[in-house]
């Protein structure tokens, strides 16, 4: 089992090897990360095979567990280590398969990009971090990898940094997930103070004996971190914007793996959540809200990637619902199936975007005839998303609804079914817009084999994995029953109803779509949804702008000698100020007006300090320093 560390190490080494190369050399060396991930895939399969016999029994007694001490804090030693147990081995397979498919797909998709080498390098580092995250045997290492992934997603979202939108989306993603990470970090502190260790065994083993207050605190803080990473309402705002990155990267990061980290974290720390009880309820509530809100927002998007992004948010909500009733297996099962079908959908969307040179669904259409294979795999993926038998989503969604009903959470089950209905509806909307009706573009062409092959692999997994559910459940240590006929019937009926409703609205007229009537009738709701339920506006007004002001205030302390001379900094500030100004210009009338006005007035006054004269800043800073000195000299 000594090869286990090589699984995350190989892609990481590939990244390190690419890092110092020149751009041209890097672009030629993309076989390096490809080779690394291929070997990792083989090793992961081997690891999986080693864990397979006996499966569940090995959960308590990991097959492989090695750690090295890195630091001593007081009495406690801090170790970093890897452990291989059923959940992590299953995750290994998911990550390496999806990463492999994405990397192979990217060969064709990103070939012409002048920075393809850098893209591959970051992709490789990202995969390495995710692999190390699922192999980690302690929360500290998990946190480190978590942050590396945050960095990688920042780099990938902002990959086309020539574009303003990409840069902004990257910063937004970084900052939004950071908000969650702060919760995670504080949770870790509390955990360490309580247990004196970050080890899964030590922490989770003793969780049941913690004071309920402590358990709830830690659980909620960890949940907050997971909400940032897994894009749960209200920290979901970064994910749709993150679609500014390359589409295959979206497939890997924003569908299959990175957002899964949050779910994985909650699943891993389930004993803490169970010890708390309250925290589980919160997980359930967050999941329900996210599933429904994400679905509703997906309804009004015209950008195909944004539809998929919101559906990801909604599906992640589904996973949280599963976790919220204490069923690790339901959440993880949906995580696994979702990883495959959503990355499939993103890759197929990438092909469509290339074919139409556009992301707007209204400008697509007729893809079924022009791109038959892509359409077929997209159909598989979208049926899985809608939860139609026999595709993977059906099985895992059923499992979630089943555990809900078993737990007596009928209200939550109804909510989940409603989210399922919306899902099926927007799937139908997407389908009829993109694949039927008259093509809105000329010269459509099917993708080449290099792109089709990975999609077909993912489609095959999506179509087949459901039948192995019970086996997988046994392996992971919980029972996944064959779907209960009643539950399956109800959920299938709901999904079919959603599809039918979608057809009635979008497909009935044989293509030409007139949604004006619907929009008119639902005026207020529609515009609220189009405005993404005002989440962004709210943050802009309540958090971003005051924060920018506070930051400018703090910048006064920066008497760095040359900083202020750098013209670029001035330009950047100018840009931020302009953005903020433009927003004021068209400030939306919202329910938050009162608060916002007060903050605005405060900001206006605070602004006068920021004259732009660097020496004013220096003098202010010096006043502070002098005061400090007085304090030190007089007191000391």
């Amino acid at each position: 089992m000594t090869y286990i560390p090589a699984i995350p190490l190989l892609p990481a080494l590939a990244f390190l090897a690419l890092l110092p190369m020149s751009r041209a050399a890097r672009n030629r060396a993309i076989w390096l990360p490809l080779g690394a991930i291929a070997v990792s895939l083989v090793l992961s399969v081997m690891a999986f095979a080693a864990v397979w016999p006996g499966g569940a029994e090995k959960a308590a007694e990991p097959v492989y567990h090695e750690s090295i001490p890195i630091a001593t804090v007081g009495e406690a030693t801090i170790d970093l280590g890897l452990r291989l147990d059923p959940i992590s081995s299953a995750m290994l397979i998911v990550i390496t398969v999806v990463a492999m498919c994405v990397q192979v797909f990217s060969v064709g998709y990103m070939r012409k990009d002048p920075r393809v080498g850098w893209y591959y390098a970051v992709l490789s580092l990202f995969t390495a971090a995710m692999l190390a995250l699922v192999l980690a045997d302690n929360f500290l290492m998990l946190y480190i990898m978590w942050e590396i992934m945050g960095l990688c997603s920042y780099l990938l979202i902002g990959f086309w940094h020539e574009k303003e939108a990409s840069r902004k989306a990257a910063i937004k993603a970084f900052l939004t997930t950071r908000v969650g990470d702060i919760g995670f970090a504080i949770g870790l502190f509390v955990m360490f103070v309580t247990v004196g260790s970050f080890e899964f065994d030590a922490v989770l083993g003793s969780a049941a004996e913690w004071a309920p207050g402590v358990a709830t605190t830690v659980a909620l803080l960890l949940l907050f971190g997971a909400m940032g990473k897994s894009a749960q309402v209200p920290l979901h705002v970064w994910l749709p914007d993150a679609m500014a990155g390359p589409t295959p990267a979206s497939a890997l990061i924003h569908a299959a793996t990175m957002v899964a980290a949050g779910v994985y974290l909650v699943a891993r720390s389930m004993p803490i959540f169970e010890a708390s009880g309250v925290a589980l309820q919160v997980v359930l509530a967050v999941g329900l809200i996210t599933a429904i809100v994400g679905g509703l927002l997906a309804l009004v998007q015209h950008d195909i990637k944004k539809v998929l992004a919101y559906s990801t948010i909604s599906q992640l909500g589904y996973m949280f619902i599963g976790l919220g009733v204490g069923s690790v297996i339901a959440g993880m099962y949906h995580l696994i199936t979702h990883a495959f079908f959503k990355s499939l959908l993103f890759l197929a969307a990438g092909v469509l975007i290339h074919a139409y040179h556009n992301q707007d669904m209204r400008k697509m259409g007729g893809a079924a005839r022009a791109l038959p294979i892509t359409s077929a795999v997209f159909a598989v993926g979208s049926l899985a998303l809608a939860g139609i038998f026999p595709f993977s989503g059906f099985w895992s969604k059923d499992e979630i609804i089943l555990v809900l009903t078993k737990d007596g959470q009928y209200l939550a089950a109804a909510g989940a079914l409603f989210a399922g209905f919306i899902t099926a509806f927007y799937v139908a909307r997407l389908w009829f817009r993109v694949f039927t009706r008259k093509p809105q573009a000329e010269g459509l062409h099917e993708a080449k084999i290099g792109k089709l092959a990975p999609m077909c692999v993912l489609a095959a997994i999506t179509a087949g994995i459901g039948f192995f559910g019970p086996t997988l459940g046994y392996f992971l240590g919980h029972k996944i029953p064959w779907p209960d006929l009643v539950v399956a019937g109800v959920s299938s009926a709901v999904a079919m109803a959603g599809l039918a409703a979608g057809w009635w609205v979008y497909g009935r007229k044989g293509g030409e779509i007139d949604t004006g009537a619907v929009k008119a009738r639902l005026g207020a709701i529609y515009s609220a949804l189009v405005a993404k339920l005002y989440f962004d506006e709210m943050y802009e007004r309540l958090a971003v702008r005051p924060f920018t002001r506070a930051a400018s205030g703090l910048a006064v302390f920066d008497i760095s000698r040359i900083d202020w001379l750098v013209d670029g900094a001035a330009k950047a500030w100018g840009a931020i100020a302009r953005v903020s100004w433009r927003f004021d210009d068209r400030a939306v009338d919202g329910g938050v007006n009162g608060v916002a006005e007060a903050i605005w007035a405060f900001g206006k006054r605070a602004r006068s300090i920021q004259s732009g004269r660097i020496q004013t800043y220096q003098q202010l800073a010096l006043v502070a320093i002098v005061l400090l000195l007085v304090f030190v000299v007089v007191k000391g």
């Binding site: 020496q615 003098q619 010096l622 002098v626 000299v633």
Partner: protein, 170 residues
């Protein structure tokens, strides 16, 4: 005898340094200000000699009085081509003066109240060779930082070239 010369030398050079600094701040012509700065640098170099830091005194003259001043003069000549540009108002700022004065006051208070470790002065001060041992041998302990500082200079040089040239390439 030695003590009085020492005191006298210190007083002369300290006054020269302060005078140079004041001269720099009060000259209307930037060119003269640069020469006043050069004067201060040379005085401080002399003070280094008083502190029996011969090597540093030389470095001070070469780096500050030589290289930096020349660089300053070049930049002044490059950016302020006409004589009128170089002559400017005094830019007196009461708030800055007050702040600097308060700062000086605190410093004076701090220095006069602080107690420093009493170390017996060596009969024979260490010379440049000893400094070489400190800087260039493993036993001295400063070898690695010294090499790193060489890297810093290299990086700064590359960056300076890039900044002054970079504009045209874009």
């Amino acid at each position: 005898m030695g003590e009085s010369v020492n005191t006298l030398a210190f007083l002369v050079m300290a006054l020269a340094a302060i005078g140079g600094a004041v001269g720099m701040l009060t000259s209307r012509n930037i060119m003269y200000a640069a020469f006043w700065l050069l004067w201060t640098m040379l005085s401080v170099g002399g003070l280094y000699l008083l502190l029996s830091a011969e090597f540093l005194a030389l470095i001070q003259v070469m780096v500050y009085a030589g290289a930096v001043s020349v660089l300053m003069l070049f930049v002044i000549m490059l950016t302020l081509r006409r004589r009128e540009d170089a002559v400017r108002s005094l830019d007196f700022s009461p708030s800055a003066a007050l702040l600097a004065a308060v700062f000086l006051g605190i410093m004076y208070y701090g220095i006069s109240n602080a107690t420093f470790p009493e170390v017996a002065l060596l009969a024979e001060a260490p010379n440049t060779a000893d400094l070489g041992v400190v800087l260039f041998t493993m036993e001295g302990g400063w070898l690695l930082p010294f090499e790193i500082s060489a890297l810093v200079l290299l990086a700064a040089m590359v960056a300076a070239v890039w900044w002054t040239k970079g504009q045209d390439r874009r």
